[in-house]
Each structure stands twice: as C-alpha cells, then as structure tokens.
Assembly symmetry: C2
Homo-oligomer: 417 residues x 2
C-alpha cells in the first residue's frame, strides 16, 4: 500500500464518525455495488473500513467510498457517478488508478460488457452550430497554458504515431503528421482544407514541409488565435489561413480534405451534413481526403461522465456509421483504413505522465477537483484504448474512378522523410 | 475498322433483307436507345446500316443491332439484354470491346449513373445451402481444363497483387498469397480455416511456406478434387484438408479465419450467419482473420446479365454492409482495410489476354456463344474495376482487446520473403 493510500485509511476514523457506522442497508448496497462490477478485479471499502472483494482472482485496487450519499449515487448511475465522486474526492482509489481502470475494462470485455448498452443513456441533443461552439469552448478554451504543460511542444492533441515503440512524444507527433501527409499524397501547390485544426500544427506542417496552401477551420477562439500567431512568427501566414468558423461553413474547392480528431465531436445526426461538405468542397478530379477519429467496434455511447464533464456532444462511431453515413452516400471511394488504437494508448501514457509531472502547476491554476477529473479522463482513455474499448481509425478516401490513386501502400513505408 | 468489323458490315445486306428495311418505329426506338446510353461514347448501327451517334465527343465504338427483336429487347432491359444479344451474336461490337466498355463506364460515372439504381432489379432469392451449391456449380464446375487455359499455373481465380506494375501474373498471384499471409501474421502451427478455397492454392501455400495446418472448405466438387490431388502430390495432405462443404458447416476452433473471393457469393441476407460462423470458429484469444471480396462504393446490385449468366446469387457489398453486417455484430475489431481495385483491373487484363490467346480451344470445347459470354464478362469486369464501378477490399480483423496485433503495418512492406 502506498503512502497516499495509508494516509487515506488513517482518515477513515474521522469519516466513520461523521457518517455513523454502516447499517445493514449500507452493507446490502455495498454487496450490490460489488456485484455490479462483475469480474473487475476491484474491491470496495466503506467509510468505517468494511471491505468487499471481487468474486475471483487478485485485487488490482480498492475503491474507498467515503459516505453514504456516494454509495447510493454509485448504485444509481455507476458510469456517471464514479467520475463525479472521484472528482470531488468522495471516492478514493487505493491502488494505481491507470492500471485498475485497464484491468477493469479488460475484465468487462471478457464479461461481454462492451456488447451491452451502458446502464444509463443520456438524452441526445443534436449539435447545432451554437451548441457545437459551446461544447468545443467547454473543452478547448480552458487555456493554452494548461495544454502546454503536458502536450508536446507543437501542441498536438490527437493520437500520435510511434514508428518504433520507444519514440519520444515530440517525434511521434511529427511522424503522425507525416503519416497523414503521405496518405494524402500531398504535392506542392495542393489546396488543402482542414476541418477542426486544433492549435494548427498539422496545417503549418503541411505548408512548411509539403508546399501546400491550407485553409484551417476551428471554432475554438483560443486555438485559432494561437495558430495565427504561430503562422505569422514562422512566416507561413501567406500560405496558412486560420478561420474561426464551423466546418459546415467551409466554402470553395480544394484538392484535399483532412480532418484529424473532429468526427468524434460532430455527432451522428450531422454525418450526412459532413459528407455533403466534403463532397461540395472536394475537387471533382483527383480530390482526396482523410478522416482520423476515435471510434468503436460496436455501437455504444461515450462514457456518461466523459460526455458530461469532458466532451459534451461527443460520440465515437463505428466504421459502419462513419463510412456508411459520411462517405458512402456521396459515393466517395474508401482506399485505406488503419486502426491505430495501440498508438493512442501510448500517446495517452505520455500525456498522463507529463500531466502528473506538472500536477502542482495544474492544481495551482484550477484546484484539486480539476486535477482529479483530468487524471481520471486521461487514465480512463488510456485504459479504453489499451483494452480495445475504443479504436482510432484513419480512413483515406478519393473520388470514385480516380486512377491516380497509388496501387500499393509502399509509399507510406519507404525511407522516412 | 478491323477485318472482323468490315466482314460484319458485309453481312448487313443479308440481314437487311431478312428484317426488312427499318420503319419509322425502328428509327424512333433507335433514337431512344442512343439516348439511354447517355454520354457513353458509343454509337449504333441497325441491320440496314442506319447509324446514330452519341450526343458529343468521339465515338469509341458502335453496336451493330442485327434485328428488330434485339432492338426491342435492348430498350426493355438494356443491362440484361446487352449481354444476351452479344452472347448470341445478335449484337456485334464494331470496335474494341474492352476499351468501349471502359469508356462507357467512365462516362456513366460522370453522368452520376453509378449512384442510380440499375434500370431493372431482379427478385432476390436467398442463398439456401442447396441454391448456393447450384450457383457455385454453375460457375466453377465448368471444368478445370477450361480455367487452366487462362488462369495462372496455380489456378488462382481471385485478384492478384502486383508489387510492381510489370509483374507477371504467376508472380503477382504468389505476391497476393504472401500479402494475405503477412496480413494474417501466420506462424508455424497455426490452425487456419479457409472458407471458399478455390482450387486450393492459398491453402497449400499457407501450409508449405508458413507451416500452418489448414482446413479448406469449398462446395465445388471439381475444385475440391483438384485441391486434394495437388495436396497429395505435394506431400501436404497431412496438413491441408479439403472439405467439400458449405462455410456454414465449419466446426472446430481455429487461430485464423480466411476467405478470399467468397463474400461476394454469400448474399447479403446471410452476412449475419457468416459473422456467426467466424465468431464461433475463431479462438477467443489471438484469433484473427481476413476477408477479401469484390465490393462497391455505393449500394447497387450486380449487373443483371452477369448475375443471370455468370454468377447467380452474387452481390458485391459496400464496406458498410460487409463490416456492419458481418463483423460489427460480433464485436470483431477491424485493423486494416485495403482497396486493391487497380490490381483487379490488371489481373483481368492478364486473364482476358490469355483467354483470347486460347480462344480457339475454348470455342472447340464450348462453342461460340460461350466464348462471347466469357469475353464480355472478363472485359466488362476489367472495365468495372478500371473505372471504379467495382472495388476489391481486403479487411483484416481480430478479437477485440487483442494487444498482440501489430502496431504498424511495417511488417507488410519490409524485405519481400
């Protein structure tokens, strides 16, 4: 037991006297909660030290439930309230959070739980232009200073690509950009439109290293400002234009459409609109594109807590949904799909380690509940990708009948640029 | 105009006197027929020499309609009756058939015709076990002697893989098998099940070069006999078992499921059954598989004539259909999709050239209508892949949460074995 956990247990006496000794009802609720966790290797501890254990095998960690209210809330809506209680500190993890989450997902996958719907479904609200803006502001306008603490130096907030496992995060993000650019077969002079450009690293990379002209769309004010500043300071503002607007307002014709990490924020009911935008803005001959997005093997809503606190409006689609509702109605031809989920697990491992390394600064900026929420979100996401609960897909497409498409994928795996 | 075409025109007088001179009604039907071909660069000639031309641009070839009955039939159901009339010689092509078909598909793609349903839809009959057997017998039991005339020496009747454009067909088929084996990460001792194994080349290749044990299923009597003979003569009959049975009767547990060129014969209404078979026979940990199949960018039935005369019961699915109805309901995780349509265009070019090289023997075996039907089918298929009317997909999948999957695709593109 680590120091933190033992300190936690020392505080139990105080908690116990505040909550009173657990009654028969509490112990019954505890047993239900334990049963609800199935074969997850997770035990529970109540405020007075009462413990339960999983039905079989070793215990990866225990969850300390500090009061009756939390116990009840976990029974009512475990998916949402686990995050809520952990954030506020009413639930404590005795053990290593990341590995406990990973073991839990793995056990639940074996239980067949990934095939079952989540215990509770939130009402879906379509992403209108205004709501899309609110959702994105919620997450991305926390402040560039915060993200700078734990992202790579170019501020890429999407899955990196590790050509070799030990690659640094900085280099893996550059490798990801090159992987995307090679898949898009960028040529000097190509006009590229990017939907959802983050802090602009890919847009600038495409202009700097591939000689393209880029229009990059984003509805996050802070990110667009950052991208513009960077473009100016690097003398690329003549070739990269950052536009603070929704992808639905993209106008003009382009050789290339690219979107990295946006589709999961679009919302299922807008896929057909996205397909229309791609079709409208892509050159009739030789137009090509790439969608990079978080997805699923099976239809399942995003974790309820992540959807409420971290990514409102987000939904990771299956390939059937993404290909079937975005590309197929437009007759766009799918050339290549690659699943990079192991790269996202590794990326999140880097982010989590950097986040913990800067946790003092984060706490000073936003306080303890923020720290706990982000720790849970990063560790939970890492576990989801490491266990196959979430996927990362890159889909390359072209206009139908385009015979300039490469016939093999050798060009992606030749000498690295 | 080539010799054949000029001979054809010389026969027009005879035809003309038999059919009588075209009347106003014939000329009106002719103009409708020409209009129905849209922007295809194809003109028409009636039995008396009356000509029409496409509305714009150069003419890639003309179709000589030899009698009134054929003219009417082309108006009633062009897709089906083009093939019927060409086969019986009541329709003749003045010009190069393969390039005329290609130009036509290309023009129709620009017309947006690939997005519209075919003019006439046949009633779909589900592939029961008995009908599946009849359908496959129809095509594959014509006789090994026939296929030997124009396939490669190992008798692979599926899309080859050309690492370089000028590769020979024999080597491209071996390269395809290795591409598939690398995607499956075959290891010595792996138990492989192959659904729809043709003449057995891949099954034997997997056993010979990758040290696997293979059970190969096929409902074509002639193909199974051929495979067994070959296994015996190569001393592989202890490791490769050919089973004359339907994929639905696969029993046992395997490390690897592979199916090359079968899904397009399965029929949409059986995808869920196929998914069930894969799920049932694939090892829970580390099980992996590959589906290689002819597909589409958009939902559209197979050409009516090909469905009637060449491949009864066949249907090339979109990725949405194949991934959504076969793999997704089983929670299988898609790792990689590759579109190889340009390789199929090239493969068909080889087949067509070899077929024409052996056309005297084919004629002696089966007569002229058979020659014409197969010429049309091979040339039409080549045109469909060359113009993007059809796709060739290879889909690699694994059990969810399997972290032994390769994180990059470098292993497919290293030193060739």
């Amino acid at each position: 037991m680590n120091h933190k956990a033992s300190t936690e247990l020392q505080t139990l006496e105080r908690e116990s006297s505040r909550n009173g000794h657990p009654r028969a009802l509490d112990r019954w609720m505890l047993s239900l909660l334990q049963r609800g966790f199935g074969r997850a290797p997770v035990g529970f501890v109540l405020w007075d030290g009462t413990q339960t254990s999983p039905p079989e095998g070793p215990v990866a960690g225990r969850l300390l439930v500090k009061d009756r209210r939390t116990l009840v809330s976990l029974l009512l809506d475990p998916e949402l309230n686990f995050g809520e209680a952990y954030t506020t500190g009413r639930l404590e993890v005795l053990g290593d959070l990341p590995s406990m989450l990973e073991e839990t997902y793995r056990a639940w996958e074996k239980d067949g739980r990934s095939a079952r719907p989540a215990p509770r479904l939130a009402v879906r609200r379509p992403n209108t232009l205004r709501r899309a803006r609110e959702n994105i502001h919620h997450h991305y306008d926390i402040g560039n200073e915060f993200y700078r603490l734990w992202l790579d130096e170019q501020m890429l907030y999407t899955c990196a690509y590790f050509p070799v496992p030990g690659e640094t995060l900085e280099r893996a993000q550059v490798a990801k950009m090159d992987h995307v650019c090679r898949k898009l077969r960028l040529r000097p002079g190509d006009r590229v439109v990017e939907a959802g450009c983050g802090w602009g690293a890919l847009a600038l990379h495409m202009a700097r290293h591939y000689g393209t002209e880029v229009k990059a769309f984003n509805i996050s004010t802070e990110q667009v400002r950052y991208g513009r500043d960077r473009a100016r300071s690097e003398g690329l503002d003549g070739r990269v234009e950052f536009i603070e607007d929704d992808y639905r307002n993209i106008r003009g014709r382009f050789d290339v459409f690219v979107s990295v990490g946006m589709l999961e924020h679009v919302g299922k009911e807008r896929y057909s609109a996205l397909g229309e935008v791609i079709d409208r803005c892509l050159r009739a001959d030789g137009g090509r594109g790439l969608l990079h997005f978080i997805g699923r093997d099976r239809v399942r809503p995003l974790n309820a807590w992540v959807r409420r606190r971290i990514f409102p409006g987000a939904y990771p689609p299956t390939l059937r949904e993404a290909l079937g509702d975005v590309l197929e109605p437009r007759g766009l031809s799918v050339l290549d799909v690659e699943n990079l989920r192991l790269h996202y697990a590794r990326t999140l491992e880097h982010w989590l380690a950097r986040f913990e390394g800067a946790v003092g600064q984060v706490r000073a900026m936003f306080g303890e509940p923020f720290v706990r929420a982000w720790r849970l979100y990063l560790a939970g996401s890492r576990a989801a990708f490491a266990t196959g609960w979430m996927q990362l897909f890159q889909v390359v497409f072209a206009r139908p009948g385009d015979n300039e498409i490469p016939s093999t994928r050798d060009h992606l795996y030749g000498e690295r640029a």
